[in-house]
């Protein structure tokens, strides 16, 4: 099932093209990564999905329906530039933001109680935001984003500014939200999280989508036929190129690159005949490498 469709979206700002014919589809109940260098157009795309900016042409659909106020209310959006009213009390402010999202006061109170208990921050309710630390404020911000139980969650650089403990907490919460049926889009520079969390990605560069698809497939497609072999003795062969070899505690660690198009089993067979093999592992490129390689001018 497809939850969100972005179709041929074009957005031109005075003097420069921010999005050039961008299309993507986000399957329901998945985590989708929106990657790209700074200024590539990610935030513009996210704003268009949120109906904050209107596209010059193209269309965005949620559940097959064109975006209207009712559709936007099913989105929870945590912008990259985020903050809270500093002088307002935490509880009051969370209630206000929830009501702006269309929740009734009672529902909002109930949901807030649940989340404040879950994050163990009930004591903050009557504090002013300016009294909170940055990490604390971000927790509150996270709660206000997901409070109205949105179908689609959009996080723009969710982990920037979080300390590692909180970042991990957020990661777990995001996964739990997904398991509970939500669909999540997030834009990030952190390729580690992409590999951990995302099922699909779009890589945006200079207003265009340059790479799109399933993370596992993308990595397989970018495979460089490199293998890591741990063995009792050193290995040699004609079918592969030796990239590096080290020895530690009597175990040889060798990186090899397959020269032919034969299957991996064939290669392994050749190695087994030489010595005792402890490990034979294909080294898939990280998203980081793929990102840099794709974006490189």
């Amino acid at each position: 099932m497809i939850l969100l469709e972005v179709e041929n979206v074009v957005k031109q700002f005075a003097g420069h093209l921010a999005l050039d014919n961008v299309s993507l589809t986000v399957p329901e109940n998945s985590i989708y990564g929106l990657l790209g260098p700074n200024g590539a157009g990610k935030t513009t795309l996210i704003r268009i999905i949120n109906c904050i900016t209107a596209p010059d042409s193209g269309e965005v659909r949620l559940n097959g329906k064109k975006m209207t106020t009712a559709e936007v209310q099913q989105i929870g959006y945590l912008p990259e530039e985020r903050g809270l009213y500093k002088k307002m009390k935490v509880g009051e402010q969370a209630l206000y933001l929830a009501q702006l999202k269309g929740m009734s006061r009672q529902d909002a109170l109930k949901a807030l109680k649940y989340w404040f208990e879950k994050f163990e921050i009930q004591a903050w309710w009557d504090k002013k935001v300016e009294e909170l630390s940055k990490g604390m404020a971000q927790k509150v911000q996270f709660i206000t984003t997901i409070l109205h139980n949105p179908k689609l969650l959009i996080f723009d650089e969710p982990f920037s500014g979080f300390d590692p403990v909180n970042a991990d907490l957020m990661k777990r919460e995001i996964l739990e939200l997904r398991n509970n049926g939500a669909t999540i889009i997030f834009s990030t520079h952190n390729m580690g999280t992409v590999e951990d969390l995302c099922e699909n990605i779009s890589l945006v560069n200079q207003a265009k989508i340059v790479l799109q698809g399933n993370v596992a497939e993308i990595r397989a497609n970018h495979a460089t036929k490199t293998f890591l072999v741990r063995s009792e003795n050193s290995i040699t062969g004609n079918n592969f190129e030796l990239l590096s070899q080290t020895e530690k505690d009597g175990i040889f660690e060798t990186k090899i690159k397959k020269m032919n198009t034969g299957s991996n089993n064939l290669l392994l067979k050749e190695l087994i005949q030489q010595t005792e093999i402890h490990t034979f592992e294909e080294l898939l490129p990280g998203m980081n490498d793929i990102f840099i390689e794709t974006v490189k001018p």
Binding site: R47, V72, L84, Y85, M88, L97, L100, K101
Partner: protein, 440 residues
């Protein structure tokens, strides 16, 4: 609850609950009341210390005029000036020395007052009044015409022109140009103050939302225009609340203070000062009570309800016109310190309007007053000055019509700048840029 009313409610309650708002709302009427009553109260205080004045009178003819009383004690001595000075070098009781060297009829400059400290004005006026009066009478007597004094007294005139306005029913109302001026200027000034203060609050509010980075969170729930209008309307309500509180509190206070001071303040003091006036100019003045009655009859000649209604209308019109522009400025900058560059073109016409109002007050039907009460950027302030003098209905209608059309126009324009501006971070905005945003 609709979203815009949620925003209005937040803007209103957060401001009204602020300590500074509460303090200002309750203190200002006290300040007003204080400004009116303290001088009266001070005037009623008497200086009880006795003034001791030595007099050296070389002509020996003024002793019968300068009589000692409760306040002033005149001590006639026959010593050289220096001797008096040396004798009293450390005398705390000594106030001043009056030296009269010649007949004042012939030489009007023959009297001098010496003292160790600056001679106060009251003493100087008191002595010179007595001496002038005496010399005047001496001169009159010198003409040897019987009843001359009486004739001079009768020939003095005090022309007090009463102004009466014919209203539409053909009735006569006691009018007062002075009172119209005061009422007009006060309401013009209050509108000016409210536009500047609350316009600046709108701007600061927008800048705050932008710098705290909450704006994008909010406009993912509501349209930027709703956010802007919610803020503008919420702050307008704050302004109206404050104004209403001031009116109510000031009237309660002045009634309370009036009833206390009505007995407390010595009417005698007022009458005394009137009598001094009479002595000086020989003309009778209204007693305090008489003038209060006069003021009441003039006040009743004004249609306060009409003026209050127009005050609210023009306040809202002027505020809406400027507030949206202030919001646009706030959205275009990154911090409050950057607002000056763009808010100057907004504050200039407001300041111009208050000057135009001051000049219009002198000629409320002149071309400056007429045009400035039509131009929307000045009309809310200038029209308030003209209203107490009476303005034809068609002029009010045109002025209000232009004002309404203009604030719809500026709000529309500001909305366009605003929705682009609030999402722009870390960019130095130029006028050219603003123009571009307008045409997106």
């Amino acid at each position: 609850m609709s979203k815009i009313s949620l925003i209005i409610k937040r803007e209103y309650t957060t401001r009204v609950m602020k300590k500074s708002f509460i303090i200002l709302t309750f203190l200002t009427p006290l300040l007003f009341a204080g400004m009116i009553t303290v001088p009266l109260w001070l005037a009623s205080l008497k200086d009880n210390t006795k003034k001791h004045i030595y007099v050296i009178d070389r002509t020996n003819q003024y002793q019968k005029v300068l009589k000692s009383n409760e306040t002033y004690e005149f001590d006639f001595v026959d010593k050289p000036v220096n001797a008096v000075r040396n004798d009293n070098a450390d005398n705390k009781d000594f106030t001043a020395l009056l030296l009269i060297t010649d007949d004042l009829r012939k030489n009007s400059k023959a009297a001098t007052i010496y003292s160790q400290q600056q001679v106060n004005l009251e003493l100087k006026t008191y002595i010179s009044d007595i001496l002038s009066n005496y010399v005047e009478q001496q001169k009159l007597a010198a003409y040897n015409i019987p009843n001359l004094k009486q004739m001079v007294e009768n020939s003095k005139a005090d022309i007090n022109i009463e102004t009466i306005k014919w209203n539409k029913d053909g009735k006569e109302e006691v009018g007062s140009a002075e009172l119209a001026l005061i009422i007009g200027m006060i309401s013009a000034f209050v509108i000016y103050m409210f536009i500047v203060i609350y316009g600046a609050q709108v701007m600061a509010g927008v800048v705050q939302e932008k710098t705290s980075r909450i704006v994008e969170v909010i406009i993912s729930s509501v349209k930027p225009f709703e956010l802007m209008m919610g803020k503008i309307i919420g702050i307008a309500l704050v302004g109206l609340t404050q104004f209403l509180m001031w009116v109510v509190l000031t009237s309660i206070l002045s009634m309370a203070v009036g009833s206390i001071l009505g007995h407390g303040i010595d009417l005698n003091t007022l009458q005394q000062s009137n009598q001094i006036n009479m002595n000086m100019h020989g003309m009778p003045t209204d007693t305090a009570q008489g003038s209060i009655q006069h003021i009441y009859s003039m006040l009743s000649g004004f249609d306060f309800l009409k003026i209050s209604i127009f005050f609210v209308i023009y306040f809202l019109g002027g505020y809406l016109l400027y507030a949206s522009l202030f919001a646009a400025v706030g959205s275009a900058v990154d911090s409050e310190t950057d607002t000056q560059q763009f808010s100057l073109p907004l504050t200039l016409p407001i300041v111009f309007a208050i000057y135009a109002a001051i000049y219009s007050a002198q000629n409320p039907d002149g071309p400056l007053a007429l045009w400035c009460s039509m131009i929307p950027f000045t009309s809310p302030i200038v029209m308030m000055v003209r209203l107490p003098y009476g303005v034809p209905a068609w002029q009010i209608a045109i002025s209000l019509g232009i004002l309404v059309l203009s604030f719809i126009g500026t709000t529309w324009m500001a909305g366009k700048i605003y929705r682009t501006g609030i999402l722009m971070y870390g960019k130095k905005v130029t006028w050219k840029e603003l123009w571009k945003w307008l045409r997106y």
